[in-house]
Every structure is written in structure tokens, then in C-alpha cells.
Assembly symmetry: C2
Homo-oligomer: 221 residues x 2
């Protein structure tokens, strides 16, 4: 809608924040991007998300929406006249929500076992879990170009933000996602060819550098 | 729709399964209820939910829908001609999803610290967390009769299934929810006056008995 004010509170390495950025780009919406310092959160972030105090938060005409998958659904429902992100069929919609929920419940925690591992065993466990999750997702993708079928959509948006972290996962736990899950990596490349995705994701090597620095600060290396 | 076949795979003490039962009742839908033995899951459950292998699963004309909040949204979207469960306004819908998500992310795990505690300290920690969650929810409820306002809906359905477990929480951790959160307990009573809720929830004292027996089997007492 003309005159809508959109502000995104985010931190660039967030796979969750990336979802919101991609959804806004897919809808062709202009928004103000505000980078948060998570060590010193802004009064606005604490005011807009007092329950979780987390990024990303989308502020639409002064009203906050929190939790990335909920924000993406909001964007799809409010600007429902262009580029649908979720399927319209209730069953397909439930399936899309199932896979986005699966990604949220599984991948973040298993990935953290790699990046913030206390020892080699934990990193190995994380690697094993991440690969299991990727195999399940590769099965769900099947031979379709996108999780939603012919069109890039909600599940793709839920997963592709993690691309920023793949290099860190692979380098720290010493494995190749492509060698294990070639179809998923072909999907990954396909998504990155979209301008909406490419411009919303930070550099995976810069994410890795931040992980290495943070590991030193946390005394993990 | 006439001729729809609905089968619910469930285990009666599940706060998540209760959500689906209530949603089906609110929509006035007939369904076949099948009780699962979680120690020996049926081939149908494993076939219908191969990813999580968990109840509840709603099978609609042979097709499975998994994860309770996703099932409730599916029911609301498929049978959208009667008793809306989610608000129609996108912002209100996002708020409803936020609180249902909050309940899922917080209450189950904190409640488990009480029911399956290894010692008094863990039970105390669980009690503290559960009360904090209840206070936040009581704040979100405010002076409205239901979380959705005048009408019983999605967030109410997400939370009221936990009613079955309140007696176990209170008895094991020795506290009174009503003393701490009188408005939330007034909401609880209001919900229980609905036939759709009352007929979908098992007896809290029977849940407590099962917890006690299970604690003995697990060697916790």
C-alpha cells in the first residue's frame, strides 16, 4: 500500500532476518533497514519485542511483528495482491508450514553444535544431525526446482537464509554438503540466482570470520 | 464437506492432541478417534508422520496433517465457512500466531521440568518458569474474556490443552496457579464451560496418576 512505513530491525548474519528481507524483496516493498548491535540492543528493539527481545522485528506503520516465519506469513497475507509466497490450497499450505516448522525445530540447534562446539565430538554430532536434516529436506524437495514446486516460496525462504552459514558448517566440521546432498545444493544455487535472495544474504566467509572471532571470545578455541 | 473422512491419531493426555479435538468440535465435524500406544506406535502413525513419528496426526481423506498448531490452522482454513478460529485481519492473525508460538516454545519444556524433575531444584526452576510464562500470558489476555477478544479462538485452543496438566504441575511443585494468576484461571474456567473444550480434555487427576506411575518406571521417585 502506498504510504506504508516499514522498518526492519535485524542483524545481518541472522538466517531468520534474511527470511524477512527476502519476503520484502519478493513483494517489491521498500523498507528501512536498521542494524542492531545484539550486545547493546536498541530501546526500540526492546520496546517492539519485549517478550523475546530478539531480531528480526518488522515494524509496519508503528506496529511490530515478531518471529521470522510469522513475519513472512504476515507479509504474504497483507500484500496478497502480488507474488504469493504460500500456496493458496489449505493442504499445500499446511505442508509448507510443516517444512518451515521442521527447519526451525531442527536445523538451527544442530548447526549450533557445529559452530559453537565445545569439542570435536560435539562438532561431529552436529555434522551428523545437519546431514540427516538435509537428507530429509532433499527428499521433500524431490525433483522439483523449489520446495513449493515451480515457484520459489515460503519453505525456500525459510531454508535459504541458512546458506550464509553453510560455509562455516562445512569448514568447522570438515565436510561438503554438495558431496552428500547434490540436489539440495543445486536448489541452493538456483535460489541464489534470484536477485531477491542474493541481495538479502551476507557473505558466508564473513559469517565464518565472525564465528571464529566469537569462538575466541567465548574461549572455545 | 459432506463425505469427508477424518481420522485423528492421538494419545489422550496430549495437550497438543487436545487442540485438534477442540478445533474439530468447534467446527462441528465428526471424526474417528484412534488412541495410540506411544510405547508401540501403530504402522499407520509411522506411515502418516514418518518425519516426527508423533501424535497428533489428522488424516483427512487419506492425507496426513501433522503438528498441532498447523492442524488447527488447516481445519480453520479448509472449513472456513463456520466458526472462525483465527482472526481475519493479517495483523491480528500475526499476533495470534505469535502467542501460540510463544506457548509452544516455552510452556511445554518448563512444564516438563516440573513433571519429570530429577530433584527439588529442577522442580522449583520449572515452577518459576511456568509462573513467569503464565504472568506474560495473563498480561497478553488483559481484561478480555478470551485471547482473541470476545470470541474463543486459536490462542485459547493452543493453551487450554495444558489445563489437563495444571493439577500435576501444582501438586508436584506445590503451588497454586490461581493464587498467582487469578485472571488466567478465570479464563481457564471460562474455557472449560464450553462443551467443545470439556469433551476434548481428559481428567487432570488421571493425568497426575499417569505422571506418578511413569516417574516410578523412570526411576525418578
Amino acid at each position: 500500500m502506498a504510504g506504508d512505513e516499514l522498518i526492519l530491525l535485524n542483524y545481518w548474519i541472522s538466517m531468520f532476518g534474511a527470511r524477512v528481507r527476502i519476503a520484502l524483496e519478493e513483494k517489491g516493498l521498500n523498507y528501512e533497514y536498521r542494524e542492531e548491535n545484539l550486545q547493546n540492543k536498541s530501546p526500540l528493539l526492546l520496546q517492539m519485542n519485549p517478550v523475546h527481545k530478539k531480531i528480526p522485528v518488522l515494524i509496519h506503520n508503528g506496529k511490530p511483528i515478531c518471529e521470522s516465519n510469522i513475519i513472512v506469513q504476515y507479509i504474504d497475507e497483507f500484500w496478497n495482491d502480488k507474488t504469493p509466497l504460500l500456496p493458496s490450497d489449505p493442504y499445500e499450505k499446511a505442508q509448507a508450514r510443516f517444512w518451515a516448522d521442521y527447519i526451525d525445530k531442527k536445523l538451527y540447534d544442530s548447526g549450533r553444535k557445529i559452530t559453537w562446539n565445545k569439542n570435536k565430538e560435539e562438532a561431529e554430532e552436529g555434522k551428523k544431525e545437519v546431514l540427516e536434516i538435509f537428507k530429509v529436506l532433499e527428499g521433500a524437495l524431490g525433483d522439483k526446482p523449489y520446495f513449493g514446486g515451480e515457484n520459489f516460496g515460503y519453505v525456500d525462504i525459510s531454508l535459504i537464509g541458512f546458506h550464509m552459514w553453510f560455509y562455516a558448517y562445512e569448514t568447522i566440521a570438515n565436510f561438503s554438503i554438495e558431496a552428500e546432498c547434490p540436489k539440495l545444493m543445486a536448489w541452493d544455487k538456483r535460489c541464489l540466482e534470484r536477485k531477491t535472495v542474493a541481495k538479502s544474504l551476507g557473505d558466508p566467509k564473513a559469517v565464518y570470520d565472525i564465528v571464529l572471532k566469537s569462538r575466541k571470545i567465548k574461549g572455545l578455541d
